[in-house]
């Protein structure tokens, strides 16, 4: 309808309905992985097929879409997905976090605090947080069903025994609403505190494994830890070389052959806005 022979937002209406049903169930049971009939999408697995299906199911003409990849609005993946929806769903796109109603993201949560009514869609490669510890799907489902989460704690124990601290820095497991352990997708653990009681709705889509899960607004999300080794986020001694922020997640960049380094905000929108403010 918007572009040649394609239905609005690429997927046909029955598929979108099926995905919305999965989303509703996921919202009703925070952190629970709901299976859905994942479709073949016009991009390869691992590039965001899960996120793109969730976005396609929830997007409407009056939405404004922002897509980020590792915090940046200008990477190939982000640009392509944004253009895809502009074309098949006829939506406005933006790079400004405050203006967006739907934000599809890979590997980051925006630095700018989210608001009521915004939806954050995560692209998830491996939805099962226990996968590396227990390869049997039947067994992990049982563990979730009975909330037997000793094995997750075992992996944190191992990390402390080997490294003297919990060395996991991304995809750090969380307990949602005191019930389900959830993989927050490979966001840095720096972003984990932002998931907790966030006013925005968080939807997680895993295309290859065909799972959808969700964290409804204002839901408690706790990062797992030990009493004597509490959860901590990354800290930097430097500030952002462009905007001077000391509160954002910084990427380390090697800028010449002599190994000179600079640290720069990974969230490009946040960084640019701060720079514009400083110029004013």
């Amino acid at each position: 309808m918007t572009d040649g022979g394609y239905n609005y937002a690429y997927l046909d209406e029955q598929t979108k309905r099926m995905i919305r049903r999965a989303i509703l169930k996921a919202v009703a049971v925070p952190g629970y992985q709901v299976p859905f009939g994942g479709r073949e999408m016009p991009l390869p697995y691992g590039w965001g097929t899960g996120g793109i299906q969730v976005t396609a199911a929830i997007i409407g003409r009056d939405d404004t879409l922002k897509v980020i990849d590792q915090g940046a609005d200008d990477t190939t993946n982000a640009v392509s997905i944004r253009r895809f929806f502009a074309r098949v769903a006829d939506v406005a796109t933006t790079t400004r976090t405050e203006e967006a109603t739907v934000i599809q993201t890979r590997h980051r949560v925006p630095e700018t605090p989210l608001q009521d009514g915004q939806i954050l869609v995560f692209q998830v490669p491996i939805p099962e947080p226990l996968r590396m510890l227990e390869p049997r799907e039947t067994e992990t489902r049982t563990l979730h069903a009975l909330s037997e989460y000793g094995v997750m704690q075992v992996s944190l124990y191992e990390s402390i025994a080997r490294h003297g601290r919990i060395a996991k820095t991304y995809n750090y497991p969380v307990l949602v609403n005191g019930r389900y352990i959830m993989s927050p997708s490979p966001i840095p653990k720096f972003d984990n505190p932002k998931l907790d009681r966030n006013p925005a709705l968080q939807l997680y889509g895993a295309g290859r494994e065909k799972r959808i899960y969700a964290v409804p607004p204002h839901t408690p999300v706790k990062s797992l830890d030990f009493d004597d080794h509490p959860f901590e986020i990354e800290r930097w001694t430097e500030c952002c070389a462009l905007c001077g922020s000391t509160e954002s997640f910084l990427d380390e960049m090697i800028v010449d052959d002599a190994g000179k380094r600079r640290f720069i905000c990974s969230d490009t929108d946040y960084c640019q806005e701060r720079q514009e403010e400083q110029r004013r």
């Binding site: 037997e148 094995v151 704690q153 075992v154 124990y157 402390i160 025994a161 830890d225 030990f226 004597d228």
Partner: protein, 257 residues
């Protein structure tokens, strides 16, 4: 405590038309070690799995006297409760330590897993208990962070025992705990087991085909053949004065050294 800790009545398990064990009944009293002996294929392990709730018997029932909520029928319990029981009040020592251990995690994590599963969230405390148990099963403390893959067969078996006993279980199921170990390692393990069973007042069901092991560890013995119990009684009595022809054959076939 008044009644038996574990009571089986007419436990029967079939696999298709094949009968693995038929009409097995017994009472296990607190602090008692019951041996189940018989040749390969006589239904010992199937019986053990039925007792421990790992298999559902086709007939009969298994009652367990819990520490807190009275007597329960093991197979009527919800899966959640049964699994909780299995990792708190029970232990299960497998013949192949790889089945009972988490081979990808360090020895300390293996011992600590039960503690973490029941909600202990203090790393220092878990590690302290793990070291304590490692020394109790006579493994050097500098092996605490090694994975079981780096352990010898005998050490793996001892680690498996530590992993099971850390939650202070009341009842331990053992499936050929000394199988596949050489004799000197077996002897050490038996010594250790005997000491632990004594000091923790454990009740245990021990499946073995080794009559020597049975004599050393068990108080009472059941002899199984073709899925049925052919003789039962005090261990010394059964071994010194076997009544059933099959038991006589078993006792006679021990290799003299």
């Amino acid at each position: 405590m008044t009644g038996p800790i574990l009571s089986a009545k007419g436990v029967t398990k079939r696999f298709g038309s094949r009968i693995a064990c038929r009409g097995v009944s017994f009472d296990l009293w607190p602090g008692e070690v019951l041996g189940v002996v018989g040749e390969s294929g006589s239904g010992k392990t199937t019986l053990l799995n039925c007792l421990a709730g790992r298999l559902v018997p086709d007939e009969g029932r298994v009652a367990y006297e819990t520490a807190s909520i009275g007597t329960v029928d093991v197979h009527q319990l919800s899966e959640a409760r049964r699994r909780l029981l299995a990792r708190t009040e029970w232990g299960f020592v497998h013949q192949d330590a790889r089945e009972g251990l988490r081979m990808g995690a360090s020895a300390g994590a293996n011992i600590g897993e039960r503690l973490m599963a029941i909600g202990t969230r203090h790393y220092g405390e878990i590690r302290g208990k793990a070291s304590d148990w490692l020394s109790r099963v006579e493994i050097d403390l500098d092996r605490l962070d090694d994975r079981p893959t780096a352990y010898s067969g005998g050490m793996r078996q001892r680690l498996q025992i530590a992993r099971n006993l850390v939650s202070d279980p009341r009842l331990v199921f053992m499936d050929e705990p000394t199988g596949g170990l050489d004799v000197s390692v077996q002897a050490r393990l038996l010594d250790l087991l005997r000491g632990l069973v004594d000091s923790f007042h454990l009740s245990a069901v021990l499946v073995t085909h080794d009559l020597g092991v049975a004599r050393l560890l068990t108080h009472r013995l059941m002899v199984m053949q073709g899925g049925e119990v052919v003789e039962a009684g005090l261990t010394d009595q059964v071994l010194d004065d076997p009544q059933h022809a099959y038991t006589q054959m078993l006792v006679a076939s021990i290799l003299p050294v």
